[in-house]
């Protein structure tokens, strides 16, 4: 009985220490988690782009005219990364107004990116390059698939951006408490880099 009481006492101290434990845990593990997650996404796109190369080796691809709006997408996503980074620096300097503005700008640029992607798909479709179906070719299917899957990952990024924006609006971030924002920014930069890779890959391999 005494042992049990002792245990319960110890358990309570454990709980008190738990709050600190959770914060420390988050600080220690959030960034590694997102990095390794990124590695698995790289392998996913790596698998798909090597599938393109293997397929191309099978019979050769016909050139597809790349929509100009994909070039605009590239400019937009680079700008959005710059804006997000500026937001992080602003928070670190304590300039909350600049942070709020630049993160809002990042979100708008992210949405614009999707719009330009959509414009690209419309252009492809109107020029007779279909995603699937009787008249589609492997190269056009791959083109839609790779860009589409990138947008799917980007939508995930937009949700995290929205979360960061809400927290910034409430002035929740500070120099000491900024892990969440850093995680989101790592992912966002990765999405930019992934797009540039896909853009160049599609430009030189398919188109």
């Amino acid at each position: 009985m005494k042992k049990m009481e002792e245990n319960i006492k110890q358990m309570t101290t454990l709980r008190a220490e738990n709050i600190n434990y959770k914060e420390e845990l988050k600080r220690k593990t959030s960034k590694p988690l997102i990095w390794i997650g990124i590695v698995s996404i790289i392998m996913f796109f790596g698998g798909l782009t090597s599938a393109v190369i293997v397929s191309q080796g099978g019979g050769g691809f016909l050139a597809i005219e790349m929509p100009f709006s994909f070039t605009i997408s590239t400019v937009i996503i680079v700008l959005s990364s710059v804006a997000f980074q500026f937001g992080l620096i602003s928070v670190k300097k304590g300039n909350y107004l600049a942070a709020k503005l630049s993160i809002t700008l990042t979100l708008i640029l992210g949405l614009l990116f999707i719009v330009t992607q959509y414009m690209g798909w419309t252009f492809l479709h109107d020029n007779g390059y279909y995603a699937a179906g009787k008249d589609s070719t492997q190269e056009s299917s791959f083109l839609y698939l790779l860009t589409g899957l990138h947008v799917v990952h980007l939508i995930g990024g937009l949700f995290s951006l929205l979360f960061v924006l809400v927290k910034t609006m409430k002035n929740k971030y500070s120099l000491e408490n900024i892990t969440g924002m850093q995680v989101s920014i790592i992912y966002w930069h990765f999405l930019g880099a992934l797009w540039i890779y896909l853009f160049l890959f599609l430009r030189f391999i398919i188109a």
Partner: protein, 593 residues
Amino acid sequence: MSTHQHHTKDFLFTYVFSTDHKMISKQFLITGFLMGFIGLIMSTLFRLQLGWPGESFEIVELLMGSWQENGVMNPDKYLALVTMHGTIMVFFLLTAGLSGTFSNLLIPLQIGARDMASGFLNMLSYWFFFVSSVIMLISLFVEGGSASAGWTIYPPLSALPQAIPGSGAGMTLWLIAMSIFIVSSLIGSLNYIVTVFNLRTKGMSMTRLPLTIWAFLLTAVLGVLSFPVLLSAALLLVFDRSFGTSFYLSDIYIGGQVLDHSGGSPILFEHLFWFLGHPEVYIVLLPALGITSEIISTMSRKPIFGYRAMIGSMMAIAFLSFIVWGHHMFLTGMNPFLGSVFTFTTLLIAIPSAVKVFNYLTTLWKGNIVFTPATLFSVGLVSTFISGGVTGLVLGNSALDINVHDTYFVIGHFHIVMGLSAIFGMFAGVYHWFPKLFGRMMNNKLGNVHFWFTIVCSYGVFFPMHFLGFAGVPRRYYTFSEFPMFEEMISINEFISIFAIIAMLAQLVFFFNFVYSALRGPKAPMNPWRANSLEWTTPVEHFHGNWYGEIPTVYRWPYDYSKVDSNGDYLYGEDFIPQTTPLGENEKDGGEH
């Protein structure tokens, strides 16, 4: 909130939506074993057909209904059973069941952490696995039956819903279930890696980690790198099946009708599939190797021989597993030069594997071996790892592989080296860590019975398959009674089937022992095997957080067994020195050199 509600909530978060790694480990274990049991029953059913083709087993009809009309297995269902047996055993039992159970149980306990990096992701990983298991089982009951294209689901059989009955809804559900499974596996692996790298207790350097942790870490790395590629393969397959793309299909006719697909190649699928598929072999095997390293050292009361060599060879195996996938595809019209490259990389794996076997044997050599069921199964793994590995040299060599490709030789090889080794490792792990999982001891006598029946019957099942393979008997055939050249082989198949049935019955002994001991077994002491690693410093009862008060500090590697001083007496008076004992004067840490 009323007390009743409070209790329900407690129950729900303790046993169902738990974020405690120990509970999640038990959830993985039990779900994995249930799936494994279903896979086992499936194999017994198709062994009945192979051993006694066309003979009626009316009693089975009670269980199988129209799958077994008049007691004879329906040929379509034979293919479905073979496919589901492979899928369930490889992914559900030996990937999620093995890695999920022991990575979850041992990573936090052995590195000295309160829990995983993210308890929530860990819970999510289990529930994705659970949902995926349920969908996979539901696929047995849809029209046309479950997927039937083999566990490797090669297109076009898997890509055209009209190809065979199992290519319809069953295949769709297979793909859905596997996609969810991959997500589960990825989330789990993420967690394992981050936990090992970031949450080790004070003093727990990488060279003081038990080999189990090294094995789980490398397994998780393999998972993160290879499962996304399978996901991409599955995704392209879904597009081909449902949206009319042609990634894997070209110029196909069905029933005289030309299909619209053109330009694709099924070989592309094989490349993507085996880029996962080969590392998958080691995802299955490495945890078993880690578990047995730990058990063999503890039970022979000797430090593991070549600790660093063990880590190095596991790393080498993990690395090589990514550049050997072509050896599954020697017959796809591959350029012979490329074939020889894959042969070279494949045969290289023999080197680290041999290092591991050598180290196992030298660890056992002259040890004070304690014969528990866990020890027996670990030694059983060493045996199957050798006898299955040797036939790998035949299959890895493109010139030899061509002769036995897709025959029973392959079935014999991979069941011994991957299936048996991994399941022996899993059994060893369950017997060894049962006290940690359930706070009770398993019955050793029943364990020994289980081991001897299992190993004798396993060899009885898989060894003769090599002879079938040499005779050219192809895998996945429903019956061989129509081929005069295979008539002599029917008696071998009967022999195999008898052993398969006995092996299946022997597993019932294990299940009884497992359930009975979990409920009524004798209470376990804190450190029943007198082992060094950290998990045995935690209290027997489970609670979230693992250690009361501070997490212990680690001062030495986990393999200080039978360490003696200059007079030949045991240091500290015992034949084991827990990792929490500070190093004495002039004492060296075993992991450092």
